[in-house]
């Protein structure tokens, strides 16, 4: 009995403390909360902070890095397992400086090198929104890295000295408002570079190579520069908007991690924001020294690849490589097909892949697995053919690359 009374007292004190902390908050600030909700969509917070089939924002999605797994923590207002004990300043510090409430450095799987560009006002709105979520009690162990990477990072880290420059986005007065909005979204909340910018040996962005394409979780996130062959140079602004809005356009269909990004984030963006993103991306400088010469059509790998293509692939992707818009991706002159790194191509042939489903394009067609019916050499040959015909030009795919990836993705 006495014990219970003590408990009650303690709980009451706790409640008073929380009430005091929240005194400054206006929890019916509809405009701010609604704006925060939209900003959380722009940032795709739910992507990392929700387990498959789990409650939104309650944590649990694992990000596989070369150093081990990092799991998105619970960011619902649960005091014990979420961020219920945090203040708005704590969130600002996490997003702007990459430092947790405990004072420890976050791992850059939390894309603070991008989120640092988000304005204080926007972080404040996101905070207001997160406070309205149902507190979910869900213990998450975010750090599942292997030794020595799992050792808690000091507040001053060498990694940040090399790779991180804090600072809110500064608009370029020489550019339009639309361009600047696009830059703010792409470089900030949208954190496109987290996947699409090549990384240095420590996992930080390589300088001067923004959005030129990178490998992550055995997917190759393609080049988003205006490069006419490997980037989005041949896509119009409308093509980019349509892709982000629906997951598909007449060139390509989102698959893999981008399918998630489309489903969780870009398909819910306003048309104005999508146009801003497209405007900014179209203005990006194409990568330099971009030449490749197609393999000769009588190369033995090309001959073998053509036979396999006609037999196994042409029914959907068409003999001309034209595909079927919004259903079967176009292969002829397709940027991803000609990427320097063929990992995504090998992967989808090996284990298949399902396209994004959105309200505007709900079909979600899927590529079946060919890993059980084609050998490593056959997969290498057919991809070499696809990468070097219909005007495409790219390096040949090596069967050893297929063997290696098969070992990884078939685990």
């Amino acid at each position: 009995m006495r014990m219970r009374n003590l408990m009650t007292l303690a709980l009451a004190a706790c409640a008073i403390g929380l009430a005091a902390a929240r005194a400054a908050e206006d929890n019916q600030a509809f405009e701010k909360i609604e704006r925060g909700r939209y900003l959380a969509v722009l940032g795709d917070c739910v992507g990392c902070h929700t387990a498959p089939g789990g409650k939104p924002f309650a944590g649990g999605a694992a990000l596989e890095t070369p150093f081990g797994a990092l799991v998105g923590p619970n960011i619902t207002p649960d005091v014990a397992t979420g961020i219920g004990a945090w203040s708005e300043s704590d969130l600002w510090r996490a997003m702007h400086e990459g430092i947790a409430r405990t004072g420890a450095r976050l791992y850059p799987a939390m894309p603070y090198p991008a989120y640092t560009k988000v304005t204080r006002e926007d972080v404040s709105a996101i905070w207001a929104y997160l406070r309205t979520l149902e507190p979910v009690h869900n213990e998450v162990q975010p750090n599942q890295l292997t030794f020595p990477f799992n050792v808690r990072r000091p507040a001053t880290s060498t990694w940040d000295l090399i790779n991180f420059k804090p600072g809110v986005f500064q608009s370029d007065p020489a550019k339009s408002d639309v361009w600047n909005r696009g830059a703010y979204l792409v470089e900030g909340l949208g954190h496109c570079g987290t996947c699409h910018t090549p990384k240095n040996i420590t996992g930080g962005d390589r300088g001067g190579e923004a959005l030129q394409g990178a490998l992550l979780q055995d997917w190759y996130a393609p080049d988003l520069t205006a490069d006419p062959r490997m980037g989005i140079g041949s896509w119009s602004t409308e093509d980019i908007v349509r892709y982000l809005k629906t997951g598909a356009n007449s060139f390509d269909i989102a698959s893999g991690p981008m399918a998630e990004a489309v489903e969780n984030s870009t398909s819910h963006m306003t048309d104005a924001d999508l146009l801003a993103i497209a405007t900014y991306l179209k203005d990006g400088a194409p990568r330099s020294a971009n030449t490749a010469i197609a393999l000769a059509h009588d190369d033995t790998r090309m001959v073998a690849g053509k036979a396999i293509y006609e037999d196994r692939c042409a029914a959907c992707h068409i003999s001309s490589g034209a595909g079927v818009p919004t259903l079967f991706p176009r292969l002829a002159q397709a940027p991803l097909v000609q990427s320097t790194d063929p990992t995504s191509l090998i992967r989808v042939v090996l284990i298949g892949s399902r396209a994004a489903a959105t309200s505007a394009a709900p079909t979600a067609p899927a590529m079946p697995s060919f890993g059980w019916t084609l050998s490593d050499t056959e997969i290498a040959d057919v991809l070499t053919y696809v990468r070097n015909t219909w005007g495409n030009a790219a390096s040949a795919v090596q069967s050893t690359d297929v063997t290696t990836l098969r070992g990884r993705v078939s685990r």
Binding site: R312, A315, C316, V324, P325, T326, L327, F328, G352, R354, A357, S359, A360, A361, P362, T363, A364, P365, A366, M367, P368, S369, F370, W372, T373
Partner: protein, 589 residues
């Protein structure tokens, strides 16, 4: 065992095939919570019939991989009431579907509308030929709806599917190249006809020379890519010839998977429970109101799903079986000629003409379940039956559905059944022979019906359904006449040898003919002779609707799916716009 009771829902749907998917989409669209209960597994194109192994004749055609296993549920069969019915232990004449998508997964996708006169058959025939012209035991009747009632719903189903064809009649104007006998359409088909191979092209030339009006068969295997009003995209058919018995791995064949389900599964007010078999429809004490359904899962647990509205959307045979097991409506008694559940079972009367050529190569493997050139001069009542002594008819034509390796082994008569000579004949005939077909209707008769079998039960102790059916003289005469007309056209194609195979003798349940089983709980104008009113609503239980070919009073000379889809949209429209506003009988008697 007591069934565990689940929270109530607005609508429970039994069976997630074509009609279940259509009803679920329309009713979730109207804001209702819908639970669909499906006996078979979930089925998805790339996962369950990918191009890498879907074209497997042994697995799917010979071993029936996609179909219901008779061990789970079957029916007994006999030709007439003097025989003892025995259980069907391996499917033959028809193929009961199972799993999400139902028959829409494995159909050939022949997408025909019925003729306007088909819907008012008895009235039409009596007016033209007199009451005495019809056999005394023929129980054909009017549907209670007209072609014009159904036209907008045919249109909706075809635009859902992206059907490839050429209209023959748009708003009363006859269109060159289409079927001039069809009812008026409000607009052209959504996509142009599929390409025609050599055989159908030759057939059309021959038919044209004889004064007929050949036209491309309407096809649910698409001639080109198509995005339907739900935003779902289908791809162009590749003419691989693995349609009927198979799922399409190319997203080219209209099915619930390729037209509705991607949009439906996004809706939060829709839920599907697969691998769950509905045992019966539950009624309240008055017996006038359905309270939901009871189903069993694969662990043998029984569940009760209460609902305000019950939609029976299973395959035709199982709809009738569930009505009989649930005690809904008066079972049909063939001796007294009264009762409605089980009444008017009808089927399809098909026939063929085989032609063997010396100088022609047909490449039968360039195929689609519904390419072909057809004529409709001998369908329904498009021709004068007065001097012929029968009623009914069918379309006929060169329909190139497949050239699959195991079963395409056509040989001329007098060829040995095995050995070197047989092999030689198969090799010679594979490319150079051709089979043309007739697709005749089947009228309904007093002695063709369903009831519960007195002897055999399923694994759960439920009585199996008993099928009593045989062909009648009227249909056999019709088949002979149609086959003769077809042979005249085929003869003009110039074969060395021609063989006619009209339907004859007793109905054989072991030999595949079609899966167009119809009737058993038919729609009509009054409860004495029909189980359902014109909106497919049970006369006896107003919150129960029964979809599918179950409602056909008799079967016209076409494939049923287009009409099955149109009737579902027609019923959905009545539920959303009338029933929900005032739940109760939609037709007062």
């Amino acid at each position: 065992m007591m069934a565990r009771k689940l929270p109530a829902t607005d609508v429970v749907i039994v069976g997630l095939g074509w009609t279940g998917s259509i009803m679920a989409h329309e009713l979730t669209g109207a804001g209702l919570n819908v639970v669909a209960i499906e006996r078979g597994p979930w089925r998805d194109t790339a996962t369950d019939f990918p191009t890498t192994y879907a074209p497997d004749e042994l697995r799917y055609r010979i071993r029936h991989d996609l179909f219901l296993r008779p061990e789970q549920l079957t029916m007994t069969f006999r030709n007439n009431a003097n025989q003892t019915a025995l259980p069907i232990r391996s499917w033959g004449s028809f193929m009961p579907p199972n799993g999400v998508g139902g028959g829409g997964v494995h159909w050939n996708a022949e997408t025909w509308r019925f003729l306007p006169s088909d819907f008012e058959l008895r009235t039409h025939l009596v007016q033209r030929y007199g009451e005495k012209f019809l056999p005394e035991d023929m129980t054909i009747q009017d549907w209670g709806i007209t072609y014009d009632d159904l036209e907008p719903h045919y249109d909706k189903f075809e635009y859902l599917c992206g059907t490839s064809g050429k209209a023959g009649n748009i708003k009363g104007r006859i269109q060159a190249g289409g079927n001039p006998f069809e009812g008026a359409r409000s607009r052209e088909y959504p996509t142009p006809p599929q390409k025609q191979p050599y055989g159908p092209t030759l057939f059309a030339q021959a038919a044209q020379e004889m004064g007929y009006k050949p036209f491309p068969q309407p096809s649910g295997n698409l001639s080109q890519a198509y995005t339907n009003p739900l935003g779902v995209t289908l791809g162009p058919c590749t003419y691989c010839g693995f349609c009927e018995w198979f799922g399409c791995g190319n997203y080219s064949k209209a099915s619930p998977q390729t037209t509705i389900l991607p949009a439906l599964i996004r809706r939060p007010n829709f839920e599907a429970r697969t691998q769950c078999e509905v045992l019966k429809i539950n009624l309240d004490k008055s017996g006038k109101r359905a309270t939901g359904v009871t189903y069993v899962d694969t662990s043998g647990n029984e569940w009760e799903q209460p609902a305000d509205l019950v939609l029976l959307c299973a395959f035709q045979l199982f709809n009738v079986h569930l009505l009989l097991l649930s005690g809904i409506g008066k079972p049909y008694d063939p001796r007294a000629g009264d009762g409605v559940i089980g009444r008017n079972y009808s089927y399809q009367v098909t026939s063929s003409v085989d032609a063997f050529f010396d100088d022609k190569i047909f490449n039968p493997f360039i195929a689609s379940g519904s390419i072909g050139m057809c004529i409709d001069e001998f369908n329904g009542d498009n021709f004068d039956h007065g001097p012929l002594g029968f009623v009914g008819g069918g379309y006929m034509g060169a329909v190139q559905t497949n050239g699959r390796p195991i079963q395409t082994a056509r040989t001329p008569k007098a060829t040995p059944r095995w050995g070197a000579e047989w092999k030689k004949a198969v090799a010679k005939s594979y490319l150079s022979s051709y089979e043309a077909v007739t697709h005749g209707g089947c009228n309904s008769y007093r002695d063709a019906y369903f009831d519960l079998d007195p002897t055999y039960t399923d694994r759960l102790g439920r009585k199996l359904m008993r099928v009593t059916f045989d062909f009648h003289e009227n249909e056999l005469k019709m088949s002979t006449y149609l086959t003769d007309r077809l042979a005249e056209v085929v003869q003009k194609m110039g074969p060395r040898q021609l063989e006619k195979h009209p339907r004859s003798g007793h109905y054989d349940v072991t030999v595949y003919q079609t899966t167009h089983t119809c009737g058993g709980a038919i729609m009509g104008v009054e409860p004495r002779t029909s189980a359902l009113n014109r909106y497919l609503q049970s006369w006896d239980v107003a919150n129960l609707f029964v979809m599918g070919a179950t409602a056909f009073p008799q079967n016209p000379g076409y494939n049923p799916t287009d009409t099955v889809g149109a009737l579902a949209y027609w019923a959905a429209d009545a539920i959303v716009n009338h029933y929900l506003k005032s739940p109760g009988p939609l037709v007062q008697i």
